[in-house]
Symmetry: C2
Subunit: 158 residues, 2 copies
Amino acid sequence: MKKHLLSFCFLLMVLSTGCQEQNHNQADGSTEPIIFPKGEKITNDNFTGTAYLHMMIQSESANQTSVGNVIFEPGARTKWHLHPGGQILLATGGVGYYQEKGKPKQILRKGDYIKCPPNIPHWHGASADSAFIQVAITNNQFGPTVWLEEVTDEEYHH
Amino acid sequence: MKKHLLSFCFLLMVLSTGCQEQNHNQADGSTEPIIFPKGEKITNDNFTGTAYLHMMIQSESANQTSVGNVIFEPGARTKWHLHPGGQILLATGGVGYYQEKGKPKQILRKGDYIKCPPNIPHWHGASADSAFIQVAITNNQFGPTVWLEEVTDEEYHH
């Protein structure tokens, strides 16, 4: 019987290790695996709270599409902003928000994606309790991102 | 002792179930979780083997970027093709290949991303032994994809 128990303990250990390995690469406190690199802490004033950016693809004249991976810590968000050529967001982990001016806040979860129409002011970021990971695909054909005012705590929690 | 063994069995079952739940949404035979929908089997003749496409974002005049999730079964691949505005590929699961005309085949794994320059003939697809999942971001500003000849088995395995 003792031998059987030892075998079970070993099997338990192996299974348990297998589970842990699937979570080896996590975003700040969440259990979501990161697919693309976390990048560097954003230090410009276009964001509120702590967020990280890894630029994957830079825009250039031949293809004016830029792609970046953004990780927002809980509560972190962009300022209001707009893109003359529009933007596409792909949610790859955590729980986040997206809001267009004058419309209700939407919740974004892993597997969700959204098209921000050209010239529509909007913001995006993490929910208050969870980090949020997104791939941002920006069309710079008609000009760069225009940054606007901060998303107030009242707007964020509304 | 029997009681302890039963407790261990229960714990084993719980842990094992936990592991399985992380893999609940799999691409054909691989252990990779799918982030975006699998979509429909591709029935046009631009692909060799079995592949699935879920169009996430359609191109339109205001933002001529299209985004699609493609799942290639092992051995499946596109024909040679080119994009007048270029394309960006994000690898989200499995093991795949990318090759530009006249250059060596590159291996793509989860977390890799690649920029296909405008007007350069190339192909992409799964490796022979593993499915491959990619997000394809196409810039249609300068015209639609131009499809070319099939990737031969010799080219594929080279």
